[in-house]
Assembly symmetry: C2
Homo-oligomer: 337 residues x 2
DNA sequence: TATATTTACGAAAACGTAGTAGTAAAAAAA
DNA sequence: TTTTTTTACTACTACGTTTTCGTAAATATA
């Protein structure tokens, strides 16, 4: 079962390699009869062109990468799903890399993608990334990056985001309209664009309703579940009065649920909770979780589509635009009726 | 910013391509001084070897693929996470493909991987796959496949599974011990090894406790949420008495929750529910969902590790063994205390 | 001093594909 | 009939890397 390549086909058919290659490409230079012979022999032996050799000729890898910070979050799962479907449609291949929120891993991964392995990258930043040299280098090497969700403002490229500010505003206002007067914001990382925007929405909503923001009500969380639990517990059992929580990501809402369970705080009676989330189980939680649902699948599709749009018109410049796909507020039980 | 390759380095340094290549590989054939010059120039220009050209020389793609049926399930998410971590460790790259439970897509994907693109494949079967020609062909082409979870018995290779039979038995017995006398099994697909094993465990537990299996209590579900909802609703509102449900996968347990919500059937008072699941929110559901939790991350790690074990001793034969990683029954509320 | 060995490099081939250029033979046009 | 065009093929090269082989010069050995 030795590998069947053009040379093998050629020798089997007693023609030249060029003839086989051209016949398979349906070139006009090859006669009908020969084409048929080549095609049927290729089928018979199960010839599949070697992708790496093909790359060597036309320097197109037909491969893109998606770099995400973690896999515990439903959002990224759905983005991958969307991106994969577009890649498949375009007959491209999708490499997946997880940075685990580690800036060094992100740098290593990006560096590994510098020499032709991929034609482009879809990416959401790690929360610990503060230096963007590796990304600039990537752009210098003419490898396009499309950001989604956690974008890098410094890089001029297409960015797929949701309306974080407006949604943060809406989420906070929803809590206010349901009676909350002391709303805490659970932040995930200062470094992240999404966190800043969501918090700005939160602050703007407070301001509109004449509520003063308090630093004590802005809890800096991380990706360590235990420390998040501690911080939220400290908030909810401490001196600061809190009757509403706006969690920037779903992990923090679940941590809140966990704390409330342990402290016997009733949601939504004593505490109303709302968060950005793509949990499929939001409806079945106790109580059902009111969420800002990001169009994750659509964002994956948009990111991949934008990348292919650029790759297809291969001469052009990458435009520097934000593509905004709106999130939806889904009222369930956790923030009151 | 033209691509920096060996040729470019060589001309910059006025040495031959061979010298540069060997210097970068720290060959003894190259003098210390030259090595230093080459290395520093390589760093200066940011040389990264082209992976496809490297492939052309040693015919190792340093890439593996993971082929999964869907992305809506937390199990596969965690498997990818585990597999990616091992791949990263080995400096390999991971391609992700989703069959969307479509046999034809599975065939297309496997065919696309036939000529060298990957060194090996991790795979979980689509539920609609009944013919395994494409997989046999893969093995014939010397591309190793490691199956996990949804395995293919026909192919002689390493398979990573959980103790589906024992867990199915334990799940059913747990329901029985909590008072259920009329237990239904929600099946996902006749084609799947896991479904059969889990159902056998279910039947064995019924038998042990002198309960007769009834076809009416075995509900054939699919991957269509709406039809699943209908089928489960039919079961729970029909003439067949049912006081316990064992769902083979988490989607079916959630569908059951949905039906119970709409029919106002109290879980666990009127109906006890248990299922195979990797939901991170199981604890927060209403009621908390008692689950058989598969060691998904470990299975991903095991699958990738086994593949690399084979790839590393590249001469050998692939062994035909089942590696079983046990699942754990986590008692929460949905199946009674 | 003459010969053997080691050191440090370069030339070239190969991996599989795809395209350019070249060329006999056949067909069409003059 | 001669010339031009078309048809249908082959030879060869390049993509970037790695490695084998070859070889001068330097060094060690006899």
């Amino acid at each position: 079962m030795s590998k069947v390549n053009l040379k093998k086909l050629a020798s089997e058919l007693s023609v030249s390699i060029s003839t086989v290659s051209k016949a398979l490409k349906d070139s006009h230079e090859i006669g009908q009869e020969t084409k048929h012979k080549v095609l049927s022999k290729a089928r018979e032996l199960g010839y599949k062109p070697n992708p790496y050799a093909t790359y060597m000729r036309n320097l197109k890898s037909k491969t893109i990468a998606i770099v995400i910070p973690e896999m515990t979050n439903n959002f990224f799962l759905q983005v991958i799903n969307g991106a994969e479907s577009i890649a498949r449609e375009k007959d491209y291949h999708l490499l997946v890399y997880i940075t685990h929120e580690d800036a060094q891993k992100e740098i290593d991964i990006i560096n590994h993608l510098q020499n032709g392995r991929v034609d482009g990258i879809l990416m959401s930043l790690s929360s610990t990334t503060t230096d963007f040299t590796h990304l600039h280098e990537c752009i210098n090497n003419k490898i396009p990056i499309i950001f989604f969700d956690r974008i890098c403002h410094e890089i001029e490229t297409v960015k797929i985001i949701t309306d974080d500010f407006a949604s943060g505003f809406a989420a906070t206002e929803h809590l206010i309209q349901n009676g909350c007067r002391n709303i805490a914001y659970l932040s995930i990382s200062k470094n992240l664009s999404i966190d800043n925007k969501r918090m700005q929405g939160y602050l703007e909503a407070l301001d509109k309703h004449n509520m003063k923001p308090e630093n004590r009500k802005i809890v800096k969380c991380s990706h360590d579940p235990k420390s998040n639990y501690r911080e939220i517990k400290k908030l909810l059992s401490g001196p600061v009065k809190v009757d509403g929580i706006f969690a920037s990501i779903e992990e923090l809402a679940l941590a809140t649920y966990s704390v409330c369970k342990d402290l016997a705080i009733k949601i939504p009676q004593k505490l109303k909770v709302i968060c950005f989330s793509n949990l499929i189980t939001a409806d079945f939680l106790n109580p059902p979780l009111t969420t800002i649902t990001q169009p994750a699948n659509e964002m994956g599709i948009a990111a991949a589509s934008q990348l292919f749009k650029y790759l297809d018109k291969k001469g052009g410049e990458m435009s520097n635009e934000n593509i905004i796909i709106k999130s939806a507020l889904t009222v369930r039980g956790s923030a009151g009726a």
